[in-house]
Symmetry: C2
Subunit: 400 residues, 2 copies
Amino acid sequence: MDRADLLERLADIAVVFGANVQPGQTVSVGADHGQFEMARAVAASAYRHGAGFVDVYYFDPYVKRARIAFAAEDSLSFVPSWYVHRTLCLGKERVARISLSGPTAIGLLDDLDPDRAGRDQLPFVKEILDVIADRTTNWTVIPSPTEPWARLVYPKLSPEEALDRLWEEVAHVCRLDTPDPIAAWGERAQALGAAAGRLNDRHFDALHFEGPGTDLTIGLFPSSTFHAARDETVDGIVHFANLPTEEVYATPDPARADGHVDSTKPLVLADGTIIRGLRVRFEGGRAVEVDADQGAGVMRGRVAMGEGAARLGEVALVDREGRIGRLGTVFYDTLLDENAASHIALGDGSDQGLTDDDAKRRNRSHIHIDFMIGSDDVGVTGITRDGDRVPVLRDGSWQI
Amino acid sequence: MDRADLLERLADIAVVFGANVQPGQTVSVGADHGQFEMARAVAASAYRHGAGFVDVYYFDPYVKRARIAFAAEDSLSFVPSWYVHRTLCLGKERVARISLSGPTAIGLLDDLDPDRAGRDQLPFVKEILDVIADRTTNWTVIPSPTEPWARLVYPKLSPEEALDRLWEEVAHVCRLDTPDPIAAWGERAQALGAAAGRLNDRHFDALHFEGPGTDLTIGLFPSSTFHAARDETVDGIVHFANLPTEEVYATPDPARADGHVDSTKPLVLADGTIIRGLRVRFEGGRAVEVDADQGAGVMRGRVAMGEGAARLGEVALVDREGRIGRLGTVFYDTLLDENAASHIALGDGSDQGLTDDDAKRRNRSHIHIDFMIGSDDVGVTGITRDGDRVPVLRDGSWQI
């Protein structure tokens, strides 16, 4: 398949399967500068499949850079009222949302003050977390290969070879190279859903991660529920929030995380900052020590953004059957890398499946930063309410 | 001056003089795909000069193309509620606005149905006309040279030479090549204001345009008032709505325009459509015949958008002292070309200076399309309420 075919296939699967755009529905597309081709392919696919309107919003990281470099200190967390209004409208007006993923402006903020950079969270608008929690939008996130991203992932290849290789791998992990990608995703979603069901049957009290540099126990609520792949809006529209998706995830108890963890993959923040070798120690659910080989200051800035930013909002398990982990590629992009390995997230937690009591106690934050803690060397053990230890993942394979 | 210097000088003059951005003020920047460099230079300049926040909105004509090609017929004039809300917020929240001008996606819609194309007016949102009429935003429009624009203007030059040439001419007409561009604009604004004052002293009942292919009389209201260059918001912020600006303009009586007119320059619509050789015949204020050598269908579609779209909202006089007319270049961009020649506009008229009675009778429309009708060969004569004829412009020189 040539580039144009791949663009169209990926756009089509995002529209038809991922977001599951309904006839006449408005579609919001969130893209970064540089992701024009994919944004346009998605827009064209959405219109061909009956969308009523497609609103492509391009975020420009170079304008963000100018802000962080020059704007007054006390203005850096300002968000225009119409950004908030637009975000809330997406829910109220039952809009479909398609976001493009992949780093675009790599290292663009590296020479700026990380404290100032951390204060400007755009293009993230915190009200989107409420819209997601309300399940009023059918949405998906897909990767959007670009030249800067390809150079980051394959620094030894020529720019053109790197982009070809990135497209090849993205097509593979998005199952575009199967005869019927939508059917392939249907099967995988069913398998992940079954694993989530088996985890839920055990009603674990905690999960224990153990491996090189990692010994971390994460408490679960009595009503913590594992989910996978398939989402459904309040109006009954089925959608797949991530493409690709290989994870089985739940909301943990933010008051119970103890031990230390070594991130197993680099983490690229939304603003392009790369955090390498992240190490976090938790006490009573709180990240009390944050260190890293690169980007430690930026990461500490995020964790310091509030009590919720230092606690966990998600724990997710990824098996070896997914297509991403098998490639061995570090994509420097959470959408892909989080689906290669088990991970946890600092910040906001979903109330999906929680009782009202547990939902009130779940972690709340303006941030949600996933970072990878799993590998074949990291075993996951479930701890029952009676204190029994049940192997869950060994060498990346389900034990339950 | 190299390209980076020119970008910065033009951005600075837009921020400091054109929009006159106030300390802490939010700035909305409207840019097309391809105008990234200028948008970023404006954003950086605004932040350096104390802006509180800069919101750059990029419009993508390729997404518009997909809409016109594929969307359902009855959806083409839909505008999302949050576009309207954002537009009204710009006024309510006293935002500064800087728009970038210049064609970017030339001919992109040429193979599509002009009726369908005409129904989608975006990025134009009609509520902006109310915001402008309310004078709640300090704003300016500046040219933004790009490669596609340069190729259109100088088709015989190499792309690089064309862009250099366009920058050179834009720098000249924006007076960036003077020792103190802001002082130079101050002088020119004063001269234009004086010409407007002399026109207002005569209280003409009508203006008569006469030249090759043109014999058109345009009626004025008793309170029609000529303005030039300098604008002021309700809060007293002085700004210059167009840079460059060379025109002296007024709102005519939409019930009185009779005769025929040949456009003296090509017209590029906001969507990139080029109208060449436009010929319009007016009867009782109404455009009853619209023809053109190219783009006649699109133009008729615009004129058919409502009663106000077929009547005049502006008449403007341009003398030979401006820098644009002397170049002899056709820029295919209204901001520059309208300032090279006297012109009229179909569609919405300003209420600036009108009595309440006349303001009620002024033309209202969702469109405002300027087209050039002046040249050194077109004489302009003022007709007094007593029927006397007073020469106003001959060979491009003021006679009053």
